[in-house]
Structures are given as structure tokens and as C-alpha cells.
């Protein structure tokens, strides 16, 4: 018997892994060549893509943010390795953000579809359109962040403190949510 749910889930998973892999590969290529950082970038990219694939196959959606974080770490390595005078790495941030967000959406969708619910064809198209729209919005938002950061050029103790407070709040939220027990 055909299992359209599983086919869709596999398709979304492959798309997610492919997008993540392509992003990681692009970042690795941009990085410093034949250095330990470059080699570390390859390892991170490989672990991210393989981990995401394994997690989606084994119905462990918790690996999605881990894979995204590894690709983000890859991007951080590129930024750390490249000279600050080269603007290419920073300019790629919106595209990386959009790709990560789209990969995350596809990964979560794949995990959702693995539960085996019958989906209406219209719902699938609507979801694809939504993911595309959110990815574009992510690119714009990240670009806005980069532009705003470059224009305002905030620095000093107060902005750093605000950033630390924001990050701590989100960290606290994550810990609280995890303590309440999340459901896949």
C-alpha cells in the first residue's frame, strides 16, 4: 500500500538535509583553506548533515536544532577565519539565516509527517508556500539586523549587558520549557 505520509516526510527530510548540506558546503568552501579551522568546518558540516538525516529517520526531531547549531558554528568559523576587511562573509548572513530557517521548517515538517496522519493535497501546498514565505521573511529580517547593526554601531557595556540579558531570558525560557516536558 502506498504511504503518501511517509513519502512526503522523506521528501521534506531530504530537502531539509540537502539545504543544510548545501549551506554547510558553501560555508566550508568560503572558509580558510587547508587550515585546522577548515578541516573542523568539514567535520562540523558532515556531522550536521548526517546527524539530521539519522535523527529524521529514527524519528528524533530533537536533532534538528543541534544540526542547525553545528552549521551556525561552521559559519562562525568562517567569520573567525576570514579577515574582517573582507565583507563577503558578513553579507552572506541573511542567506545563511534564510537557509537555516527553511531547513529547520522542512526538518520539523518531516518529523511531523512521520506520525502518519493523512494530509490533504491543499494542506501540503499551503505548507510549502508558508515555508517559502517564512524563508524569504527570514532573509529580510536577518538583512535588517545586519544593516541596523552596521548603521547604529552600538558598542560598550550597556548593549552587551542588554544582549546578555536577552540571551539569558531565552535560555531560561528554554530550560523552563524543557523542564515542563516537551512532546514531539
Amino acid at each position: 500500500m502506498a504511504r503518501p505520509g511517509l513519502t512526503l516526510a522523506a521528501g521534506a527530510g531530504v530537502a531539509s538535509g540537502g539545504l543544510l548540506g548545501a549551506t554547510a558546503l558553501a560555508l566550508v568552501q568560503r572558509g580558510p583553506q587547508t587550515t585546522p579551522l577548515h578541516q573542523l568546518g568539514w567535520v562540523l558540516a558532515a556531522v550536521a548533515v548526517l546527524g539530521l538525516a539519522a535523527g529524521l529517520v529514527l524519528e528524533r526531531p530533537q536533532v534538528v536544532p543541534v544540526a542547525l547549531a553545528l552549521v551556525a558554528a561552521d559559519y562562525a568559523l568562517v567569520l573567525l577565519g576570514a579577515p574582517r576587511s573582507v565583507p563577503g562573509a558578513t553579507a552572506a548572513a541573511p542567506l545563511v539565516a534564510g537557509a537555516l530557517f527553511a531547513a529547520a521548517e522542512l526538518g520539523w515538517w518531516s518529523a511531523e509527517l512521520r506520525r502518519g496522519a493523512r494530509e490533504a493535497p491543499a494542506a501540503v501546498l499551503r505548507r510549502l508556500a508558508q515555508i517559502g514565505g517564512l524563508a524569504v521573511a527570514s532573509v529580510l529580517l536577518a538583512a535588517g539586523c545586519i544593516l541596523a547593526g552596521g548603521a547604529v554601531l552600538l558598542s560598550g557595556v550597556i548593549p552587551t549587558a542588554v544582549g546578555v540579558a536577552a540571551a539569558s531570558c531565552v535560555l531560561g525560557l528554554a530550560a523552563w520549557l524543557a523542564a515542563r516536558g516537551a512532546q514531539a
Binding site: 559559519y75 562562525a76 573567525l80 537555516l100 493523512r118 529580517l141 531565552v170 535560555l171 528554554a174
Partner: protein, 426 residues
Amino acid sequence: MTRLAHRSTARLVGTAWLVAVLLLSGLALGLPELVALAAPFAVALAVGLARSPTPLVAVSVTLSADRAVEGDRVTARVQVASPRPLERVELTLHLPPAVTAAGSHRVAVRIGPGGSATAQLELTCRGWGAQRIGPVAVRARDRLGLVEHGGWAGGRVWLRVYPRPPRLHALLQPRRTLAHTGNQIARQRGDGIEFSDLRAFVPGDRVRRINWRVTARRGSPYVNLHHPERNTDVVLFLDSFRDARRDREGTLDLAVRAVFGLAAAHLGRRDRVGLIGFGGVLRWLTPGTGLTQLYRVVDALLDTEVVLSYAWKDLDVLPRRMLPPRAMVVALTPLLDPRAIRAVSDLAARGHDLAIIEVDPTGFAPAPTDRVERLAHRLWHLMREARRTELGLAGVPIATWAAGEPLDPVLAQLLGARRRRWRVPA
């Protein structure tokens, strides 16, 4: 309306961790680009948490038919309504093992503004019994899928699945019949259609009964004698103490189907049919006739199940009227429980017209794998053979019915065995 419980999803927790890690890394490493990567996830997190009021849903389950026969298909309609639009509502219809859904019993629907949605599931009735359909597990999530709400909603509906009776072309002939008109040819002589014998004319005989050919040949008047058509009492004895089962099929399923088929066939012949469910729970149905009795038998069968009991039971627990003296008793038993074996032996000892259909449990036993198991299996077969021989020596005709085989040859075997034992009264 059911208020669904709030649940955080793995996605929400994962997104929060990712945002926190990216923000802290960006701050620690002095890379604002990482903050830009975190921004879409942070906005999604904020929007998802801000727009997650607990939804109210009303769920109802209806079936296209509340009665079906094994193998039939029934359409279940699950209707879900909510005052608020819901992007994705996942409905999982709880089904008993004997009912399966084509494809999946889980359906995802979308509820538009102020509306409702209906999902249809094609159900296949794999096994007989009173099957409980529902309730429905509801999982609703917002557009971003960060917060999920879930719970059980909708009531339960009952689907009565009748066993599919085997096709029967011949039935057992009772040793004795009752006084009422039926379709059984009685062994006594009287008014009827079936020719029985000839005898010399005596005053009082009807002229229309004279056999003119024989009269002309013999030179003195002779009359035809006939067998009248009568009905009989048939008591179906169903042993539900034990059930040898593998996967979805068991000896009790076979026995219930056979009982249904026999009851329908005998009632079609205007016999009175009664039912004794002899097991952990004792059930009986006094002999009756007609379509109403068939429904009574079927309803009693639907509630039949194996109930574990260590209490000793024998025929004394049955009401006297359950076993009329002229009744034919057809027992369906796997001959696994000593209480049931003792009961059928008692029936034979009390002089009831008894026939046993042994529902063969050996096909449901796992195949022996080693020498010890093979030996045990062989011993078990020998013990069963000895039990059959004992019953045969007690004058009880017994025939074995294996899964997958038609019932007709078994009835024919019993019919032959019973004919050999009887002598037609002169």
C-alpha cells in the same frame, strides 16, 4: 466543547535553545552575524508564544452503519468544530484491534474561521463482536507549530460486527422431534409428505391414502404411510472456557461463526434454537424460534468472550428448561478445558442427543522447535486422541473441524456417525 491541554513541543524547546546558543555565541565571540541568524528564530518564538490561546473543540463521531458483518466496510465521519481557526488539527480515531482503517486512522484537517471540518475514514471490520469506536485524540497546533494543544474528545460509538456464518448445505438430523410442524422429517408415522411404508387398509383409513397400484397387485386394499414434518429443539453448546489463538484468529472465533451459521440454518427450518455459553461467564438463551430468536442468539454471541475463571462448573448450574429432554445438543468445543469436557460427558451420560464439533486447536499451537517440544507436542496429540476415543466409546459422535476448512464435511461426518448409531424405529 472540550478544552484542550497546552503542551510545549520539541520544536519550541529546540528553537529556544538554538536562539539562546546563537545569541550567547554572538555576544561571546563578538559576531553580530550570529545574532542575525538567531533573529528569525527569535521572532518565530515570540510570535508563537504570544498567539497560543487554548482552543476549544467539539468532536463527534458517526458511522454509516451501526451493524455490519465481518469483512464489511463502514465509513466513520469525524467532525471537529472550533470557534477559532486552527491551522492543523490532527485527529486520531481510537480503534479496537478488530477494526482497521484503510491507510491511516490519523487524519490532519484545517479549520477555517468559525467553521468546522470533517474527516472520513474507511473502516474494515476484521473481527466479530461489539466494537467500540472512539474517542478521538485531538492534537491542534498553531501556524508556526511551536505550541501544541491536545486531549481526548468525542464520545464512543458502538459498532456491532456480526460473525460471517459459514455456508451450510446440510444439517444434523435430530433423533427425536417435537409435536409442532417444522421441516424435519419425523421418525414417527403420521400425516406428511415423505413416504414411509405400506400397510393393509383398516376401517377408518382415508380413501385418498389408498395405494391403488399395490391394491391392484395384491388384491386387497393397502394404504400409504408417511412421515410427518416436525420441528425440533436444538441447543447449541458453546465452550468459551479456553481459546487457542494465533494473531487475529482463534478457536472461539471459529466456534462463534459456526454457532451463528447453525442457529440461522436451524431457525430457517422452523426449529427452536437455544444457546448455552459455557465458560468463565455462563450465558444461556432458552430455545425459541423465529427471526427474533436469531437476533437474540447473535446479540448473545457478540458478548461472548473468554473470561478467566477457576470456579468449577458443571451442568447443574444450568436451568432445567435450558436442556429439554428431546433436544438435540450440538457442542462446539476445542476440548481444552476439563470443565467443558466433563460437561459434554455429563450430557452424553444423561441421554441427551449430543453431537460434538471439536474446533481443532492444534493448528493454533506454535510449531515445536526442539526435541523436548516435539515430544510434548506428540504427547498432547495422543492425549487429545484418547479423549476423543473416550467420548466416542461413550456413544457421542465427534468430528474435528480445523481452521480454514468448510463446516459442511464435518456435519456430513457427524451425520454419518449418528446414522450408524441409530436404528429407525419400526
